[in-house]
């Protein structure tokens, strides 16, 4: 790859021209001086925030349910029954006490091949952060979310969001995500969709075509 090395030197020289290279700390100062007068936080009560999040998700054609923590396993069972699902993959870090009817769930699928994942009817995960104003779920893939392919290949995704994970705005979500920025991160806003044909939003192309969310409120 010596060509690439030559190219690197040539491109950097062309970018610099005859400018002196500024010190890194003066670049940092310039960066900090960039104005950021945009809204960081909403002023909603937690109840209003949950309502907003739910209405946004419904606009995306996701189904939304609420559960108290102690009834979460029953609600999961109920939602899967409504969807007539019998083979749902779960990542190995998902709390075992959420799973009531063990015959429904397939464990150990973190290491499944894509072909094996394609045979699952759906997947159950938790999330890292959720954003009310955009109806977004963010998975910063840890063991309770599984690898990225797990929540991608199966056609149905059921995601558990705790009210404490819900923030109002996009900047607030980044406050929470930034410390672990290098972990693979997926922002999910509704089921997969396209508007490539006559600008009509059609649900479901390659990602899960069906998304359900259970919001756990105290």
């Amino acid at each position: 790859m010596t060509e690439s090395v030559n190219a690197r030197a040539a491109i950097l020289a062309e970018i610099r021209g005859n400018r002196p290279l500024p010190a890194a700390d003066s670049i940092a100062q310039n960066y900090e001086a960039i104005p950021r007068a945009y809204v960081r936080s909403d002023f909603l009560s937690s109840q209003e925030r949950v309502n907003l999040f739910e209405s946004r998700l419904r606009e995306y054609d996701a189904n939304v349910y609420r559960a108290a923590l102690k009834s979460l396993p029953e609600v999961i069972d109920h939602v899967l029954a409504l969807r007539k699902k019998t083979r749902i993959g779960v990542p190995h870090g998902l709390p075992a006490n959420w799973l009531l009817n063990l015959r429904l769930f397939v464990t150990g699928c973190d290491t499944h091949s894509p072909q094996e994942l394609d045979k699952l009817e759906g997947v159950l995960t938790s999330c890292t952060v959720a954003i009310a104003v955009t109806g977004t779920i963010v998975l910063q893939h840890d063991t309770a979310h599984g690898p990225r392919k797990l929540s991608l290949v199966p056609d149905y995704h059921l995601c558990i969001v705790f009210a404490g994970q819900l923030v109002g705005t996009v900047p607030e979500a980044f406050d929470r995500l930034a410390p672990t920025a290098t972990v693979p991160t997926t922002f999910i806003s509704g089921p997969s969709a396209t508007a490539d044909i006559e600008m009509t939003r059609i649900k479901g192309v390659h990602g899960p075509r069906f998304l359900d969310v259970i919001v756990v409120v105290d």
């Binding site: 960066y31 894509p114 600008m199």
Partner: protein
């Protein structure tokens, strides 16, 4: 080896042909109308839209100002995380790098995520020349690829095709005689057609929406999930990104993930955004390469007025509001980058050797600047480039002796003196007489001037000019001032 996508026909010539296609214009107006209405509605929801635009603009300007610093930071962080960073001066170098990487894995097929940058460097053709088949996975790109067509819009490249046209294409190419023509049927056909390939083909080529210097991460913004498939299922991922795509910090995404989806598709948030950093054991590709492409970009950095072109985050909002794009669609621009941003980006990427007619493909109405989420003053750059195009043409002997150039020099000489102008007006009033129609207007000018009256009438010179009228007014002091000043010339 193929070079960059070339602009082989000028805009007016291409536009004249395309304007005859009424189906094309109907499709374009329908699609751009819908996106613009949705965009306006979701932008109006944000009380801080102008603050987001300002921050976005300044973050991009800052990154371009210190581009060498941030590229090196990106390279270091990405390498540390297990990625491989390559540099390519031009399209040929980038294509060579990708081909070598694909061949090193013995692959005959690669999956692709929609990428304007790979269109720009004609990667698919370069791969095909080496016997490697590239499979486009974005629905619109699939429509373009199966139809041997060209993209006509940055965000929705197949917006010039309606559902009936797409149905015909899919039925033929996928051998589905019974395919319906509802958008759902067409999306389901694409899902079925591509899923087997997603699960089987182990090498992917992608573009990038953002490179994050701080962390060495890459961000891809998409809707369908084809991006996620391509980013996570293969063994090898090769990302090609223009050097201008770098942003300083991860947290800067909090601005662009608000402005980009609202501007691009009129959504509060698009269905999927992915960020990843190098390789992640047990999750995603085992091998990750980034090719940093210059191809004319670093030269633009040194032009103080035009540098802002590189702030672009490829949302396509300027295309959707452009009255010229509405009429012609994207193909008239003869470039992968169409519309107002294409009119300033294309000629600069080609150092004005191609696309020189594009800076004129604008009425300078300013709608593009109004909607730009990073505040690129496109009209300002257009005017700047028009001046450069003229200088560039005059620098050649043929350009210097062209009718335009001689005409402009003659006009400059005329307008330099009041007496010469008065004489020209006098002669013009005599000379125009045979051309004035019964309507009182000049409807057809002769010879080289006929282009002007092809689509509009010209008002004839009036019987009396303003200066003549003014000179006849009483008050010797005023006429004296004028004649003194004219005499001084």
């Amino acid at each position: 080896m193929s070079g960059p996508a070339t602009v082989n026909e000028d805009f007016p010539t291409a536009a004249r042909e395309l304007l005859k296609d009424t189906q094309l214009r109907a499709n374009i107006r329908h699609a751009t109308g819908i996106i613009t209405r949705k965009r306006n509605a979701v932008v109006a929801e944000l009380s801080d839209w102008e603050q987001l635009r300002e921050s976005g603009s300044q973050i991009r300007s800052h990154a371009l100002q210190h581009l060498d610093h941030y590229l090196l930071q990106f390279e270091q962080a990405c390498t540390k995380a297990g990625g491989h960073v390559h540099w390519a001066r031009d399209a040929a170098e980038a294509n060579c790098l990708v081909i070598a990487l694909v061949q090193a894995h013995g692959a005959r097929d690669v999956m692709k995520i929609k990428s304007m940058t790979t269109e720009e460097i004609c990667l698919n053709q370069a791969l095909e020349d080496q016997g490697i088949r590239a499979h486009e996975t974005d629905l619109a790109e699939l429509i373009i690829q199966l139809g041997h067509d060209k993209p006509s819009h940055i965000v929705v490249p197949a917006l010039h095709k309606n559902r009936a046209q797409i149905r015909e294409l899919f039925a033929r190419e996928m051998h589905l005689e019974d395919l319906g023509d509802q958008p759902e049927d067409l999306a389901a056909a694409a899902r079925h057609y591509l899923r087997e390939k997603f699960l089987r083909i182990p090498v992917t080529v992608s573009g990038a929406n953002f490179l994050i210097a701080e962390t060495g991460s890459v961000c891809i913004v998409e809707s369908e999930g084809n991006g996620r498939m391509c980013l996570t299922l293969p063994d090898v991922l090769i990302t090609i990104a223009g050097i201008e795509k770098v942003i300083p910090h991860f947290r800067d995404l909090e601005v662009f993930l608000q402005t980009l989806p609202r501007s691009a598709t009129g959504e509060r948030m698009n269905p999927y955004n992915s960020t990843w950093t190098g390789v992640h054991p047990g999750d995603g590709p085992r091998e990750f390469h980034v090719v940093l492409l210059d191809s004319g970009r670093s030269a633009i950095l040194h032009d103080d007025e035009a540098r802002q072109t590189l702030k672009c985050i490829r949302c396509g909002a300027c295309q959707n509001v452009c009255p010229v794009y509405h009429q012609t669609g994207g193909h008239a621009y003869n470039s992968v980058y169409a519309g107002p941003i294409g009119a300033i980006l294309t000629p600069q990427l080609h150092q004005l050797n191609e696309g020189a007619s594009l800076p004129y493909a604008s009425s300078l109405c300013g709608a593009c600047y109004e909607v730009c989420p990073v505040k690129i003053d496109i009209p300002e750059v257009l005017i700047h480039l028009r001046a450069q195009v003229v200088r560039h043409e005059h620098a050649t002997l043929a350009g210097g002796l062209s009718l335009w150039s001689l005409g402009m020099k003659a006009a400059a000489a005329l307008f330099a003196s009041g007496n010469r102008l008065a004489l020209a007006q006098h002669l013009g009033r005599i000379g125009q007489k045979p051309f004035i129609a019964t309507s009182g207007f000049i409807e057809h000018l002769p010879f080289q001037l006929s282009g002007w009256t092809e689509s509009r009438d010209l008002a004839p010179l009036p019987r009396e000019s303003f200066r003549e009228w003014w000179a006849k007014r009483p008050g010797p002091a005023v006429t004296e001032i004028i004649s003194n000043r004219d005499g001084g010339k």
